[in-house]
Amino acid sequence: MYKYLLCWRYLRSRYIALASIVSVTLGVATMIVVNAVMAGFAREMQQRLHNILSDVVLESHSLEGFRDPEWHMELMQRAAGDDIERMVAAVHVPAMLSFQYGGRGEWITRPVTLIGIDDEAPEQAAEFRQYLQHPQNRKQFSFRLRDGGYDVYDHQAQDRGTPRPEMRHAGWTHRRRMAELRRAAAQFGRQSPDASSQQGAHDHRAAEDEQSSTPSVPDDAELRGGDTARPAQRPSRAARSADPFARGGTERRFDPRTEQHTGLVMGIGLASFRLEGTDRFLLLPGDDVRLTFPTAGTPPRAVDDTFTIVDFYESKMSEYDSSLVFVPLRRLQELRGMIEPETGIGYVTSIQIKLKPGRELNQVRDKLRALFPPQLYSVSTWRDKQGALLAAVHMETAILNVLLFLIIAVAGFGILAIFFMIVVEKTRDIGILKSLGAGGRGIMGIFLFYGLLLGLVGSGAGMVLGLAFTQNINAIADALGRLTGRPVFDPDIYYFYEIPALIEWPTVTWIVLGALGIAALASVLPARRAARLHPVEALRYE
């Protein structure tokens, strides 16, 4: 009984011991915060990755793809139909995106990953739709350009984002205005021959756009993208609308004020850049761009076509936002020659498979793997695809945890030192207790219990501190930002509007238990020393 009373009194009368556990408190608090933030990041990233990538994907090793996706789907359905919710075929192909900024400036060319998606497939990826910028498109997607009404405020930002004023004009409004401007500029260019070379090129480009319903094998000049070499006037190449929706119209002039090319959804990072915290756009929905990509034949040749941007894709994973471009699957297959002329059966390069909830990813993957020769196909889960990234996050978390736990271990040595001091200071009291009949165990109990109590206080305070910090992490970051005049967490850099934090109770429990364990362990040696003190020597101790 006396042990509890005594160590309670020691706790209250010796503030130096409390000082020794401040580092435990800070260590525990930091570990909780870091783990919460890392878990938040990991969860956010996983969610995004998983939304972007389907559960399992069957891919061809070749850009040529494989014939007849329906047959493949049927095969998979038979093998693992119970696990599969739905399957969607797609074509992935590397491509070059070219566009002219502002209608008059330089041509900008960027490498992209072009994805043909089946916009008529019923459930066409709800995950894909949710990242689009037009509210209507998020409900019911189509590759048609909308009149307007694109989000000016990022719908994912929860009123923390800065507005994107340029998006106000996006859509047909923008397209008509640009067309008028071009027309006016073209007329002006004709009057002043000096300016004609650039503008003429653009004119030609427009003219060429108009005739590209069949995949054209471009001549060398086109491949170089240096249309300047072409004569500006070649009206003989009669224009046909490239717009799949307007198709069927026979030879007639394409009017960019009322017609669109094939629709295209572009990663927002390809069309914009960040400047002082706001997004500035090089392109808007309504603008036209050119895509150049290889055909499916051997050897592949480059084909190109003009597309009209109908929306932006913003998953907040910059890797995807700055590389993905989506076009209608059928159109891409046509352009790449992926449709057998006799049968009309198409080729695709991948089949995205969504599983029913709760299915074991790897199990299904292995089942499907057995169906196809691995020389030609690969079957992988989204985790396989982003394994390196996820592993990196886990690795980082693990390393941080090791480092932070070392801090607590250092605190343990502080406790050890201070406990030895206290034992020395209490030598005579220990002698007194022994003269009163206290056993070694009881004396040891005093200091062990004392250590445990200190650990409890320290890690308890750390837990409260850490949880409070995590709960208010964004408010704290804001306040710090205001104080220092520079944002602590800059959404420009991270593409998150808030610091994501996820408190995982098992982790918190482990941290607190670990700190408690260290405090208790640190008190074992001093406590044993106290227990082994010789009573007479302790009594005589001055």
């Binding site: 003269s435 009949g437 056993g439």
Partner: protein
């Protein structure tokens, strides 16, 4: 006034006390009574830097029940060493210690701890109170040591009552909430005496109880010890270097050159 002491005592011990008290009232001397504490041929040496320093060279001592024995000796003559051996706080090189007809110096450590807790009360020159505990808690300390948490909580009220009564008996009825540093030397020694009495011991071992006190206060403490001996038949072994104090005891022996001589 005797309730506090008696009530904390085992039935066996209290019967001895009564016997001793009645015995004294008949006016007979202490000799011929039952032997309570006995040292037989105790030897103890310290070793310092390879040299043997013999302190006790064969101490024989018998203390009878209800006796107040004073051991006088110069400073450094080994008085404290002798008391520590009697209390089994230290082991002798040779010799035996007997308490109530039982050899106690060779008992296992836990038995000795329990014995020290229940049967042997100790007081010291420097009081040796626990500085973090109040006077009352200091008095309760041996009881807390004797009891586990649950049995302590169950008997707490009666323990506290007894401790309060003991404090009253040593003249500190109002000071029970004070910490040792808020008490004078005499008051601390009274608290220490109350603590030693709390479990109802058979023998009180006092190591120069007045050594650190002025003459007047020391006399008061001696008065208290004498009255405890007289009224409750408490067996007391007191070591001191002060002949005047020693002469208040029933019997005085002298510790010279590691041996006992009768004075």
């Amino acid at each position: 006034m005797s309730e506090a002491v008696r009530s904390t005592r085992s039935a066996a011990a209290s019967s001895h006390v009564e016997a001793a008290a009645s015995y004294r009232q008949t006016g007979r001397t202490a000799s011929g009574r039952r032997i309570q504490l006995e040292a037989r041929g105790l030897k103890k040496s310290y070793f310092k830097a390879g040299h043997e320093i013999p302190v006790l060279r064969g101490v024989n001592l018998t203390v009878q029940q209800g006796e107040f024995l004073a051991v006088i000796g110069q400073s450094g003559s080994g008085k404290s060493t002798l008391l520590h051996l009697l209390a089994t706080l230290d082991g002798a090189d040779a010799g035996e210690v007997w308490l109530d007809g039982m050899r106690i110096d060779n008992l296992p450590r836990r038995r000795r701890d329990a014995l020290r807790n229940r049967k042997l009360g100790m007081i010291f020159q420097f009081y040796h109170l626990l500085p973090e505990l109040t006077a009352l808690e200091n008095v309760l300390a041996p009881l807390m040591i004797a009891h586990g948490l649950w049995s302590w909580l169950r008997h707490r009220r009666s323990h506290v009552q007894n401790a309060r009564r003991l404090l009253e008996q040593v003249g500190l009825g109002q000071r029970w909430q004070h910490l040792p540093r808020e008490l004078s030397g005499g008051e601390m020694q009274r608290t220490a005496i109350a603590r030693a009495l709390a479990p109802g011991p058979a023998v009180l071992l006092a190591d120069e109880p007045t050594g650190n006190l002025d003459q007047h206060t020391g006399a008061e403490i001696m008065q208290l010890l004498r009255s405890l001996n007289r009224q409750h038949g408490l067996t007391i072994v007191m070591v001191t270097h002060d002949l005047a104090n020693a002469q208040q005891a029933h019997r005085v022996v002298r510790l010279v050159e590691g041996r006992i001589e009768s004075a």
